[in-house]
Symmetry: C2
Subunit: 315 residues, 2 copies
């Protein structure tokens, strides 16, 4: 698992971005650390037990870019904060992301059989196990944030718990998923609607990644707001780039069949704007994300590099 | 809604239990309070929004005994603690209970069309909405426990959050649901296995109800352990009585077709022990639950009355 997480970044075509900061190396290092922390936080497989634990591990220890954890780590580093508590927070956020993917893939939702070239969790196990594994990951993530090992001060832990719960709840990610399901039935959506959907469905967790760094760093309100705004704009840039990769990317890089979104009639930034205009907008959001960091110095270079990576990546 | 919650208890056949404590009145009062608190904590219905909020409200504001909230309220009262924070904690626990029912009823799980005489949530809405509504209730419950309105001290809130997350997680309720699904496939289970399954699937939330009262009451360790042990044993007594009602009860009282469990070939305390022995065991667990309260005085009478109610109720 660690090898695949590492190689995902090692083969990135945009590295190094500049002489000062090697994003590919930093993301690969974080991905490796997160894989280890996830492995230690997930319940152990024991013989004779129901398959829910195996399904939790299957869905979570599957490598990938670990972009959200990297945002947590990089946001905390803006305030000079590093260490196991940061990685636990990052891993908890990744668990919530993985739970959302398990449930999104269910037959009653997007009904996907494959994710990143592997059977989805309900295909590798069964639907009941997939539903329970998703529930268990959400529950475990919030328990981890509340645990004293994550931070010695209960005020900090409470801010993390309530921040993640809000981001993952009906005013955040779940609201976005519900809106997405409704759109499936009446696929009429303009650009503002799509941005709003994206900001709920995936933006809220990105925003929490920035917020978590600020909470762990005990940042002042304006710094906290700057990181949240950065993460929202970076998230939109990332999503537009995803839609562009869906029409331009190669299957071996993006881990799914190119053109799948277009073929399914899904409303995307590309279907609304066309490729050229979508690319312009992606760069606008990326630039805007970077401008939210103007008050910070080189300690925010990782976040600036991620915002560029979001739109320049090939996978 | 409040009327049905109230009438559920007002028509109970076992009231009053004795001259000193009117359990029926106390449970009806708590049920009414909880209905109001749930109503205020759940997101509001707004026109044009996806149906997930309506589904959350449908599944939660359906009346019922509100036994778990009553246990929270009664356990807190052992330590002289009352007020809005206790009711918020009780309501959060009820949300987790309702989320578990929504997901248990799904086609991939128990595939039930009716609950308490009404269409289950996935029948009244659709599967995707039911899955999301369950997820949203779990998320909201943990957010509520973390909110400063629930208790001024963050240490207390953290204990509530982590306590509920553990009870609802893979080492508690979800573990029990997973075991229950596995049993569906290989229905070979002895009494110890069934008690273990029940203690995970429903006992863990009962235990948290007792624990929550102890946390809110800042109880000493031995008092906290006593309430948890009480709640576990009371939960088993309650479940055995449920199995007895399934074979003895009348449809109008129990809100489902009598004999349903037996007809489905489900392993129950009655199928393992027979009616007579099951009744003996129910009373044993109820008595044992009450003995865990020996260190407390009349301030624990509500809990003693509930343990009797668990096995003497007719619905």
């Amino acid at each position: 698992m660690q090898d695949s997480a590492q190689s995902a970044l090692a083969t990135s075509t945009i590295l190094p971005l500049d002489g000062a900061y090697d994003l590919g190396r930093a993301m690969a290092d974080t991905a490796e650390n997160i894989e280890q922390v996830l492995n230690s936080l997930l319940p152990e497989l024991r013989p004779g037990e129901p398959p829910v634990v195996a399904a939790m591990r299957y869905a979570t220890l599957a490598g990938g870019k670990r972009l959200r954890p990297f945002l947590v780590v990089s946001s905390a580093r803006v305030f000079g904060v590093t260490g196991p508590g940061v990685l636990r927070t990052a891993a908890a956020l990744e668990m919530v992301h993985c739970y959302s993917l398990i449930h999104d893939d269910l037959p009653a939702m997007d009904n996907d059989d494959l994710r990143r070239g592997r059977p989805t969790t309900h295909k590798a196990f069964d639907e009941a196990t997939a539903i329970l594994a998703g529930n268990a990951l959400l529950t475990l993530a919030l328990e981890i944030l509340g645990n004293a090992v994550t931070h010695p001060e209960s005020d900090v832990r409470i801010s993390l718990v309530t921040g993640l719960a809000r981001a993952a709840g009906v005013a955040g990610m779940i609201g976005g998923q519900a809106m997405d399901m409704a759109v499936h039935e009446t696929p009429v959506m303009d650009l503002d609607g799509l941005i709003r959907l994206q900001q709920l469905k995936t933006g809220a967790l990105f925003a929490f990644a920035g917020e978590a760094g600020a909470i762990l760093g005990k940042a002042a309100d304006d710094a906290r707001r700057a990181l949240i705004s950065y993460a929202y704009d970076m998230g939109v840039a990332f999503q537009i780039a995803d839609d562009l990769l869906d029409v331009r990317g190669e299957a071996k890089d993006i881990g799914k069949t190119p053109g799948k979104d277009a073929a399914s009639g899904k409303v995307t930034f590309v279907s609304l704007l066309g490729e050229g205009e979508a690319e312009v907008r992606a760069h606008e959001f990326s630039d805007r994300a970077i401008r939210h960091l103007d008050a910070f110095g080189p300690e925010a270079d990782a976040l600036r590099a991620v915002a560029r990576f979001a739109v320049e990546r090939r996978k």
